[in-house]
Subunit: 343 residues, 2 copies
């Protein structure tokens, strides 16, 4: 059975047990508390060969990413991260310095957002490396943002450029020595400092070292004009569909509005690839995707800019009906976009 079938089987088998909140279905589980607050909990597991290859990343970047993907899930609920738990199954081949660098990457990102590592597990692995992180967050219950809360005529916004991570992955897949060429072993995070191929570095960095929108997520959580929110982990073609399906609405997206970095545009031009397709269908952007009451978009945008120094980008509208309509300069296109499929 595939991932969705496995989850469906779990839900079916467990349904007789009373829940203590909202479980499977959003970026995080929600556990309401007595004082008007709620705990949110998310888990992500990264396995060697599936989510990363040891020869195309560095231990520092891997430690960063293992936490980053979970921070992004908590941010997408409008919550603040409170504590992380990290379990790791280590093959005996990992050196001491590898482990220290991994811990350093994880700790640096933990420090950035003040999230203590409160526990976990370490064990040997006879097979590959596996890392499992659980992150607990907290927010006022009525500030939580769900995928299911989009409303007709909401404006659809994204927190930054899309597709960079997918292009970075493509670069690494086409050149497994690239990571080392880029000087990844040397840097703490700044692949950007790489002198050899500065044009590509931001793309690889977006893939190997995504920066979660932790502060933005918490800030958006406090804004009641923000209705639905998720993070873009599988490409908006898929993640936006989660919102429309769970909110029982449709969406209309203007492809010319999808924010693309200059690096992505140039790379795709040189490779003969459609950058918009990469932006819609590529995974692991870890930018926020949210819907906003259309009457309050301007105010939200200016407040956001005042707080963070940049603006989220409007890419379309929530509509009545169902499904996503893709427009090129206002004209519907029948191109098919689908997000990243796991397994």
């Amino acid at each position: 059975m595939n991932e969705l079938e496995f989850i469906a089987s779990v839900r079916r088998r467990m349904r007789s047990i009373p829940s203590c909140g909202e479980g499977i279905g959003d970026d995080c589980a929600i556990m309401p508390q007595d004082d008007g607050m709620a705990m949110v909990v998310t888990c992500d597991m990264l396995t060697e060969g599936v989510h990363f290859r040891l020869d195309t990343t560095t231990p520092r970047l891997l430690g960063h990413k293992a936490l980053a993907v979970n921070l992004s899930d908590v941010a997408s609920m409008g919550a603040s991260p409170v504590a992380s738990f990290m379990s790791i199954a280590r093959p005996g081949t990992l050196s001491d310095s590898w482990c220290d660098s991994f811990i350093d990457g994880y700790a640096s990102l933990s420090e950035r957002f003040g999230v203590p590592l409160m526990g976990g597990d370490t064990t040997a692995s006879e097979h590959g490396l596996a890392i499992s992180v659980t992150l607990i967050g907290r927010a006022r219950y009525d500030h939580l943002k769900r995928r299911s809360a989009a409303e007709d005529s909401d404006v659809i916004m994204v927190g930054g450029t899309l597709g960079d991570s997918a292009a970075g992955l493509r670069l690494l897949q086409h050149n497994s020595a690239l990571a080392h060429e880029l000087g990844l072993d040397v840097a703490d995070a700044p692949v950007t400092a790489c002198p050899k191929d500065a044009r590509l570095a931001p793309l690889v960095e977006a893939h190997l070292s995504p920066m979660p929108q932790t502060l933005e997520g918490r800030w958006l959580g406090e804004r009641c004009e923000v209705h639905a929110m998720t993070d873009i982990s599988d490409g908006i073609a898929k993640d936006l569909r989660q919102i429309t399906d769970m909110s029982a609405v449709g969406a209309s997206v203007e492809l010319s509005q999808v924010p693309l970095s200059q690096e992505l545009t140039e790379y795709c031009l040189s490779e003969g690839v459609d950058p918009v397709r990469m932006a819609l269908c590529g995974g692991e952007d870890y930018k926020l995707l949210f819907t906003v009451d259309s009457r309050k978009v301007d105010r939200l945008t200016s407040d956001f800019r005042a707080r963070f120094g940049y603006e989220p980008v409007a890419i379309g509208r929530i509509t009545q009906g169902e499904g996503i309509e893709w427009l090129r300069c206002g004209v519907p296109t029948d191109e098919i976009f689908s997000g990243y499929v796991h397994e």
Copy 2:
């Protein structure tokens, strides 16, 4: 670096980040809440080839055990389990029926104690099977039991017979076809129903399908005469040392008092193995180990029996000083007992 060195490196690197409670060091992390309650959190990761072999267990028993080891950690804090999160990295070779049975084993134990599965992650694995469970529990903050709370002259008690699981593992290691001989594929839990070798079945069951002392742990949590508590996952030779080291006390244990099952005694006799050594040094008993104010042991024991229908067993005393003294019928022995060492 080994497990302890890895944890030490993590603690060193993370110490600049303010904690939100009590982290690494006990069976669970403790996160105090505003209302006099506390959340406890534990994580365990099981990996193929290290913690289990697919040819010596069944998916149902593995699903059970993945949750059981975490339930035992929460019980040892004196807390009640509230919600579980299960992440699994699955090789493509696992059949649908394998997955359904695994889920069934996990769900059956969840149902027994009313613990909802609130989330997790599923992913492909290019290497072996890995399962990572996070369990959240809850208790009154002042009911929590720590390893560090043992007091001089406390009586040391255990929640049941020891060593059965170690003998079960030994049986499986010496005969990898045994699991199937024992009819493990057929049964939900009752290896005991196996007709072929009924004498060994309880030992194998203790290893493959341990039953956590969930209700006992919560009950003991409410008793203020219970001071320190942990669960026996690495053998009491090691787990009791955790209590003595963290409480800055010593201990004296009477070997003739260590509770042994009849099955273990008979098995060890036939194999020429010392059952007491197996009971002290074998891992994965998942029985509770706790210390009790000596003036209140009789009352606690009778109340426990009234509630659960059996009695915990006194095996020794907490002492001033340090280290553990092992006695055979009151006479100190210089035999060395050490618990299970990971990796």
